[in-house]
């Protein structure tokens, strides 16, 4: 919605036609001799390409035998985990990796062993011995290297590095402590950052958004190298992958960005083996015919897409050469469809019910592991004996590696008996990082001169003035200002901090938290994203795990569902799955709505709190908002930051002296005691705090009862100390939030209180939530969301009868049972 982009009816209504460029398909046709003659490859290069292909093939042959027969070359081992093999796709992987180095990030599909190993072998070839030794010595304090050294004498550092990468990958797959991630990632989540090998993903197409975020990181922070996003053909049907393509192709990089306005440095590579699991993407479950066609629907550049024969490594290398040149010239994103085929089943339980033996045999006739060395022999590059010698060397090495990875002496499992907290420690990194880069943060206007910032600073930081009179709304520092102030401060400290989401820039965020920031900060720091929640969160995950800090927004909490995988599987899990190697400094702002009906009014804290690995908070006062945002934007853990549209305008009513000018952090886990009383404890989440305070007032004035009111501004983690202290004192507790009562997070709190304070309870803890309905129109709010009267009713009916109290809304047991039975 930028004003400088004029939407001209004369132009958009003009007659014409949309024109597409031709998409090259399998155009490579050079012979080995021609390639040698052109000087592009030495004989050694061509031989190494073959060697690398054998290493990949042998690795998966070994895994297949271990899975199906429990034995490989005399080594017996049982491995219960997944093995999604890609036997047959080696030439495609080696060809892709051939020109990449450690600065290029490659993200994997979930059929990634060959992708990972090919990238590693290529990187090893390009790094010096000193660099390699440094990497291996420093990785996990040399734990992996020490285990590799036990394999015996080694002719040189490169061979040691090959053994290292094979051993680290295999012991990761075998769930050993000596694996690259202590076995916590396993087959579908293996990676090795020092060689530019980034996570592959058990969620099909999961890398789509994450790799795009990594490219965004490289683009904004001027980092070397490009990003390769590997996905399979079937993954192209997934929404988040489309969202990622669109995100990477946004016009604004060229039309609006003041700097970093090159195209996105990313290659979307589709390894097209014609099948998902057993579904056939061409002819059955999809309709693009050629996958390379897809980008034509995303950008006029058509991502410079082409289809290349992935059974010929040299064809892939040549195509990669073209793509890399485009990317290095700032003409990304680009796309490659790499035709390949997997001889192996999707998994070892695959009965090949969906294809004929004849089809497989026909493909085997052009198996690159047969055809490529034959061409080398024909061209006089290799003799038959030399081919066999390479195969033997590869087989011997693999046998040695497998033996070591299967040996519990060399490759022990994590000892969960001795150390039951082994995973517990990996869940959060709990670090504080002032800034992720030392360069000067980019801005358009210094902070002190930013109009919006100055305005915030000029406000009265309390809800009442010195004389106790209410401060006028316009002059009052409210919850929105509290968030805004911290975000401004952090923008000018951490140069990697970026903020985006729907309508963040010109609009200032749907609820004006970013108001005025467009005048102070360039597009590369705060921009409007496409309406693509999966891409918003997924790119933030990629941005953060690459080394930056991302603050993203989903507008309404109801849109969490649109980014389900990205929040619940990606943002939450990568720290632990990487055994702590990756950090996830992502703050995801979501706002609980009101007035906008059933799909725009839901408090989904419970969904987020349920997922291990996410920190969840929900400030309800300006003081809480400022302290928690400060803490979230300095931390290294993923935070789902809930806000409520009902209370963006509230001033600070509880914290003595209002909201401090100076910076402060509220630790996650803390709770905020806003009122002291001895007779009943009221625990709140979110905007329900204000209705609870109303109830507390009535209790005091009409019934002589004083309530302790505690707001849980942090849900995960949560320190129960003050809660227990209060309930032990009062013996009575009501818990209130706007989340639907069934499955509300407060049920969990109530359960814990019951356990921790059972003998001190004078009545069962009572949880009050919204009805288990759709949210009706705003006019009927009081029938759906908890009100002060609901709290009084609950106290009267379930905790302690209030003198002369007239119940306003029935909350009898019979009624509760009836509703539960009906599911409403």
């Amino acid at each position: 919605m930028p004003k400088n982009l004029f939407v001209d009816p004369n132009e958009v209504r003009q007659a014409g036609k949309v024109v597409f460029n031709d998409i090259p398909v399998n155009q490579y046709n050079k012979t080995i001799k021609e390639e040698l003659k052109s000087g592009k490859y030495t004989k050694e290069d061509l031989i190494r390409i073959f060697r690398d292909m054998t290493v990949l093939r042998e690795f998966e042959t070994m895994l297949n035998l271990i899975k199906t027969q429990g034995s490989y070359n005399g080594i017996d081992h049982t491995y219960p985990g997944p093995a999604h093999l890609s036997t047959g796709q080696e030439a495609a992987c080696v060809g892709q990796a051939y020109l990449l180095d450690e600065n290029d990030f490659a993200f994997g599909s979930h059929r990634s062993h060959s992708e990972i190993l090919a990238k590693a072998l290529s990187t090893i070839q390009k790094m010096s011995d000193e660099q390699l030794m440094e990497v291996m010595e420093n990785f996990l304090e040399g734990k992996c290297l020490r285990a590799t050294e036990k394999l015996g004498e080694c002719k040189d550092v490169k061979e040691l590095a090959i053994r290292f990468i094979l051993y680290g990958t295999l012991s990761e797959i075998f769930a050993r402590e000596t694996g690259f991630h202590m076995g916590m990632g396993g087959s579908m989540h293996a990676f090795f950052l020092p060689f530019g090998i980034y996570p592959n993903n058990a969620i099909v197409g999961g890398s789509g958004t994450i790799s795009t975020g990594a490219a965004l990181y490289k683009k904004i922070n001027d980092k070397k190298g490009i990003v390769v996003c590997n996905v399979g053909d079937a993954a192209m049907a997934r929404g988040p992958v489309w969202e990622a393509l669109n995100f990477s192709a946004m016009d604004q990089y060229k039309t609006l960005w003041e700097s970093h306005n090159d195209g996105m440095p990313i290659l979307y590579n589709i390894f097209n083996n014609s099948y998902g699991m057993g579904d056939q993407t061409r002819g059955e479950t999809m309709g693009q015919d050629r996958m390379s066609r897809i980008a034509s629907g995303v950008s006029p550049t058509q991502f410079h897409a082409e289809t290349v024969d992935g059974f010929n490594p040299l064809a892939v290398i040549e195509a990669m050469e073209r793509k890399l040149e485009l990317l290095r010239n700032g003409q990304g994103p680009v796309m490659l469809e790499t035709i390949t085929y997997r001889f192996s089943g999707h998994s070892v339980s695959d009965q090949n019910a969906y294809r004929t033996k004849e089809e497989i045999d026909t493909w085997k006739e052009c198996d690159p592991l047969v055809t490529y060395p034959a061409k080398l022999v024909e061209a006089g590059v290799l003799t038959e004996d030399e081919v066999n010698a390479i195969l033997k060397e590869t087989s011997d090495r693999m046998t040695m590696i497998c033996k070591a990875a299967a040996d519990p002496e060399i490759s022990p499992y994590c000892d969960f008996n001795k150390d039951p907290a082994v995973v517990e420690r990996l869940m959060f990194s709990n670090e504080k990082v002032e800034k992720f880069d030392n360069r000067e943060p980019e801005y358009l206007v210094p902070k002190e001169e930013a109009e919006a910032y100055k305005k915030i600073k000029s406000k009265v930081r309390n809800s009442v003035d010195e004389n106790g009179k209410p401060v006028s709304k316009m002059k009052m520092f409210n919850l929105r200002d509290a968030l805004s102030e911290v975000i401004y401060d952090r923008f000018y400290e951490d140069p990697t901090l970026i903020a985006y989401g729907e309508d963040c820039r010109d609009w200032g965020g749907a609820f004006a938290v970013y108001r005025g920031m467009m005048d102070a900060l360039p597009h590369s720091r705060i921009f409007n994203s496409p309406l693509a929640e999966g891409a918003i969160v997924g790119t933030a995950v990629g941005y953060a795990l690459s080394g930056g800090r991302a603050l993203v927004e989903l507008m309404y909490a109801d849109f969490i569902g649109c980014a389900g995988d990205e929040i619940f599987n990606q943002m939450s899990k990568w720290q632990a799955m990487s055994a702590g190697i990756l950090k996830m400094p992502v703050v995801l702002r979501v706002s609980v709505g009101s007035k906008y009906g059933a799909q725009h009014s839901q408090d989904w804290t419970a969904l987020c709190a349920h997922i291990p690995g996410l920190k969840v908070c929900f400030p309800a006062t300006p003081w809480e908002a400022k302290g928690l945002m400060e803490s979230a934007l300095k931390g290294t853990d993923p935070v789902v930051f809930f806000e409520s549209q009902r209370i963006y305008d509230v001033g600070e009513q509880f914290h003595e002296g209002g909201v401090p000018e100076e910076r402060y952090e509220i630790e996650f886990g803390d709770v905020n005691k806003v009122r002291d009383g001895k007779d009943v404890t009221i625990i709140t989440i979110g905007a329900a705090l204000y209705r609870a305070m109303d109830a507390a007032k009535q209790l005091s004035e009409k019934y002589g009862m004083e309530a302790d009111v505690i707001n849980l501004h942090s849900l995960v983690p949560l320190d129960y100390e003050k809660i227990v202290e209060s309930v032990r004192k009062t013996g009575r507790v009501v818990l209130v939030s706007d989340a639907c009562a069934r499955g509300s997070f407060l049920n969990d709190v109530a359960k814990n209180i019951t356990e921790l304070c059972f003998d001190d309870l004078d009545a069962p803890p009572v949880v009050i939530g919204a009805r288990n309905w759709i949210t009706p129109p705003f006019e009927f709010d009081e029938f759906f969301f908890p009100q002060a009267s609901w709290i009084l009713d609950a106290i009267n009916e379930k905790i302690v009868p209030l003198p002369n109290y007239v119940v306003q809304n029935g909350c009898t047991e019979t009624e509760a049972l009836r509703r539960a039975k009906q599911g409403v």
């Binding site: 004078d762 009916e797 302690v800």
Partner: protein, 411 residues
């Protein structure tokens, strides 16, 4: 690392002990074998020596607390060290606080005035805990919670009424301060409490009655004179020892008195006589046992009695020597008691009270009135186990044996 000192197990049957006084206080430096505190079983008092060296970090129980054996009593370690892990589990807390032991009298009065009682058994955990702490029968509360549940305020209501009532009652004598100066409340020691319980149980559960007889003590007085003249250990043999000896021999002919009542239907007869001897100590009555007295000479019995009495007075007797008696002898003769009703030490079936010697008159062989020295014997027996005649027969035989003591010695 801090070390705990445990409450020792002072005998096989001892389950818990009461802390007497702490000799050390928190912060003191202690060495191994330093006395930390004294403690009592229901029968004896001991000193607990430190088993660790270092600073006394924390004391988990105070003077007068009852502590289960083998439970941590205090922690010794390096100054400033955290010893919270050594604190005994709250569940093992002092038995002394067991609620049923301290019902408060006024509650009963309230109960009478409580007109409406809830049918409810429902009570909130908090109300229940409060009632238990205050020693109040919560079922007497008028429930005012939802669904007829007794909640905290209902128990507090009882407590407040009880206090109010107490205040009203106290208001009449009024001069509470002056009254207070005229008495002193002394908490029973462990021994006192054990005696109290044992005596009360004895009199409330046993069908006991006493026969008073006397015998001519001339023979034993003469014999005692002889012994004194010999000197040495023999000079220490007392009239009491002589009675013990006679009892140890006579009892064998009266097995129902050398016995324990196991329950209302069973009596256990013993093949030997294990004589309980009542000993007066500063802490109260103690009854050590002379095991197999029937096999001991008079001198041996005399020595054993002195030794046990000394141990009792010094408080270092093993608890195992304070039980196992089959019959008890209590001697109040030296204090001028002419006859009394000794109380049976359950589960024994009899106890003999030895009284003083008085001059009595009788008709002599020549028909003249003559004076003689008569010693009183008061036998209390359990009528459930022994009838009056057999008890009298024992008493008669005992008297005859004492009158012909030298003959008894010869047997």
């Amino acid at each position: 690392m801090a070390n705990a000192v445990i409450m020792p197990k002072a005998g096989i049957t001892v389950e818990s002990c009461i802390i007497g006084t702490w000799e050390k206080k928190v912060g003191d430096e202690v060495n191994v074998e330093d006395v930390l505190f004294t403690y009592e079983t229901d029968k004896a008092s001991f000193e607990c020596e430190s088993t660790a060296q270092g600073t006394l970090l924390e004391i988990f129980f105070e003077d007068g607390d009852e502590v289960p054996c083998l439970v941590n009593v205090c922690a010794i370690g390096t100054k400033g060290e955290d010893c919270s892990a050594l604190r005994p589990d709250a569940a093992n807390d002092t038995v002394e606080e067991a609620p049923q032991e301290k019902p408060e009298a006024p509650v009963v009065n309230i109960a009478e005035t409580t007109a409406v009682q809830g049918s409810a058994t429902a009570i909130s955990p908090r109300a229940k805990k409060l009632a238990e702490r205050a020693g109040i029968d919560a079922s007497l509360a008028t429930p005012t919670g939802p669904n007829g549940r007794i909640i905290e305020r209902d128990v507090r209501e009882i407590m407040n009424n009880a206090t109010a009532k107490a205040v009203v009652q106290d208001a009449v004598p009024a001069k509470a301060v002056e009254v207070a100066e005229e008495y002193e409340d002394i908490k029973f020691s462990g021994i006192r409490r054990a005696i109290s319980e044992s005596m009360h149980k004895s009199l409330s559960t046993i069908a006991q009655l006493t026969h008073n007889t006397s015998f001519d003590a001339s023979a034993i007085l003469a014999y005692r004179k002889q012994l004194k003249a010999i000197g040495g250990d023999y000079a220490g043999i007392t009239l009491g020892d002589i009675v013990l000896y006679a009892v140890s021999r006579t009892l064998l002919n009266h097995p129902d008195l050398n016995a324990n009542m196991l329950d209302n239907n069973t009596i256990r007869r013993f093949k030997h006589v294990n004589l309980g001897v009542a000993v007066d100590t500063p802490r109260g009555l103690m009854v050590p046992t002379i095991f197999h007295a029937d096999e001991m000479s008079l001198l041996e019995i005399s020595k054993a009695t002195k030794e046990l009495a000394a141990q009792c007075r010094e408080g270092n007797i093993s608890p195992d020597k304070l039980s196992g008696g089959t019959f008890t002898v209590s001697n109040l003769g030296s204090l001028g008691v002419e006859s009394f009703t000794p109380v049976i030490n359950p589960p024994q079936t009899g106890i003999l009270g030895v009284c003083n010697i008085v001059d009595k008159v009788r008709k002599g062989a020549d028909g003249e009135i003559e004076l003689y020295s008569a010693m009183g014997l008061s036998l209390t027996y359990d009528h459930r186990a022994v009838d009056g005649s057999p008890a009298a027969r024992f008493q008669k035989e005992l008297g005859e044996n004492l009158e012909n003591f030298t003959v008894l010695l010869a047997l």
